[in-house]
């Protein structure tokens, strides 16, 4: 078992499964920046929602700007019933204080998120590497790799 968290049934139903992540530059970019004596913005710790309904991993545009991530493209995103082009950034996702492996590098789409306390949705591109258990009866959420 790599990650486990217990909620009350009510809390889990209301908030969904959340996990603390750190969003930052990929290690290869950090190493190159160090060799080139270039300063990159530091990684940022935020709350992420494990979201089986999201086909891609999304971060808020504010988080992308805060971390100074590098844009690598655009993606067509359907959110709240509208299809729009949204910027894609390259970054890294780490799981501080957890045994879960990092995703580095990873493509992140920037899109406004409806919940103010959630700056990242971990979508099915992340979940395809995990075995996620959601026990709504006990409130237990587990992740195995």
């Amino acid at each position: 078992m790599k990650y486990s968290r217990s909620y009350s049934r009510t809390e889990l139903r209301r908030t969904g499964p959340k996990i603390t992540v750190t969003i930052g530059h990929p290690q290869k970019a950090i190493s190159l920046a160090e060799r080139s004596h270039v300063d990159l913005k530091r990684p940022y710790k935020v709350t992420a929602l494990i979201d089986t309904g999201a086909s891609r991993t999304v971060i808020s545009p504010q988080l992308a700007a805060t971390c100074g991530l590098q844009k690598t493209g655009e993606a067509r995103i359907s959110s709240a019933g509208h299809i729009t082009n949204r910027p894609e950034f390259v970054g890294a996702i780490h799981f501080p204080d957890q045994e879960l492996r990092s995703f580095d590098p990873v493509s992140l789409v920037a899109c406004p998120l409806p919940e103010q306390d959630v700056a990242c949705l971990l979508g099915r591109d992340i979940l395809e590497r995990w075995n996620l258990t959601y026990d709504g009866r006990s409130g237990l959420v587990e992740v195995e790799e």
Partner: protein
């Protein structure tokens, strides 16, 4: 640091669109790496294309990584 002001990647996206038809024949499903109107190469994964992009353009310059597909996917978020 901030990345150089090619924020929209519009030149690269136009280059991709102008070459897409030919690339579908020769590099379907590969990840193409483009900077300006320069096609650096085609790669099996986003990760390999990113690494090549760092090597080609260094740190702080935006470049386009795009999978060569006929129909652009729509990703449903919420």
């Amino acid at each position: 640091m901030t990345h150089k002001a090619k924020a929209s990647l519009s030149e690269e996206l136009s280059w991709y669109e102008s070459n897409k038809r030919a690339w579908l024949e020769s590099h379907s499903d590969k990840f193409v790496l483009i900077g300006g109107k320069t096609t650096v190469g085609f790669f099996d994964s986003y990760e390999k294309a990113f690494e090549a992009g760092l090597g080609a353009f260094g740190i702080g310059t935006d470049f386009l990584i795009k999978q060569v597909v006929e129909h652009e996917p729509v990703f449903v978020i919420y």
